[in-house]
């Protein structure tokens, strides 16, 4: 079953603008991860936020996590054409019986126009 759901499904902005993508999930998590996928390539890990963290920064990326609302957001500031890609959130949960699982949402397609 799908754990994460991204919103919006598609986002088109101009270079220099900020892009915000949201992710909602349904069950408890150990951490939440964001990945980027360029066309025809595999997923690349961007940032991980633990369940006891509320905000995390990495370069132009800012991730927030609200476990009470079971939601996360990814903000890309000062976007560039090279940021054009699909972005996925993935919830991570470790269970003694089945190990660690990443459950991916369907992704947000971001297009940054020059």
């Amino acid at each position: 079953s799908q754990q994460g759901e991204e919103d919006p499904q598609a986002l088109s902005i101009q270079e220099g603008e900020n892009a915000t993508m949201n992710c909602s999930y349904k069950t408890s998590i150990n951490n939440l991860q964001w990945y980027r996928q360029n066309s025809g390539r595999g997923l690349v890990h961007l940032i991980l936020i633990r369940s006891n963290e509320r905000e995390k920064h990495s370069g132009r990326l800012r991730v927030t996590l609200d476990t009470s609302k079971k939601s996360s957001s990814l903000l890309i500031t000062a976007s560039r054409a090279a940021d054009t890609a699909s972005y996925f959130c993935a919830t991570a949960l470790f269970m003694e019986t089945s190990g660690s699982r990443l459950t991916f949402g369907e992704g947000t397609q971001l297009t940054v126009n020059p």
């Binding site: 799908q2 390539r41 595999g42 997923l43 991980l48 996925f88 470790f94 990443l102 992704g107």
Partner: protein
């Protein structure tokens, strides 16, 4: 980039034929995963491995089998391919499960079953 190689990168085959996809890693990571990516479904886990000869089923394992005889190689086999198995297949590796660490992905195999 993590040393993950998937082969072949593209394959077209006919319904009913066996197909084997290979994932090769040079990172000596213990955990390896096979996912499929389909529009409207995101990434779904097929099978995973937590060591040599240690494998288990994921979310969508029916019609697939796996083998891992060496740390570096994880094979995915479709015993008798069906059109519903047309998809893009991704291999991923991870160093640790307990800490729910990020996974590193190969560039995928695009499989078409006619």
């Amino acid at each position: 980039d993590a040393g993950i190689t998937q082969s072949p990168r593209h394959k077209v085959t006919e319904t009913g034929t066996p197909v084997t996809l290979r994932c090769h890693q040079t990172e000596n990571h213990r955990y390896m995963y096979w996912y499929r990516q389909d529009p409207g479904h995101g990434l779904r886990l097929i099978h995973y491995s937590y060591g040599v000869k240690d494998t288990d089923k994921g979310e969508v394992s029916d019609g697939y089998s796996v083998s891992r005889s060496k740390t570096e190689d994880f094979l995915l086999t479709l015993e008798s391919a069906t059109s519903s198995q047309t998809s893009v297949y991704f291999c991923a590796i991870s160093e640790s499960e307990i800490l729910c660490q990020p996974q590193h992905f190969g560039d995928g195999t695009r499989l078409s079953i006619l």
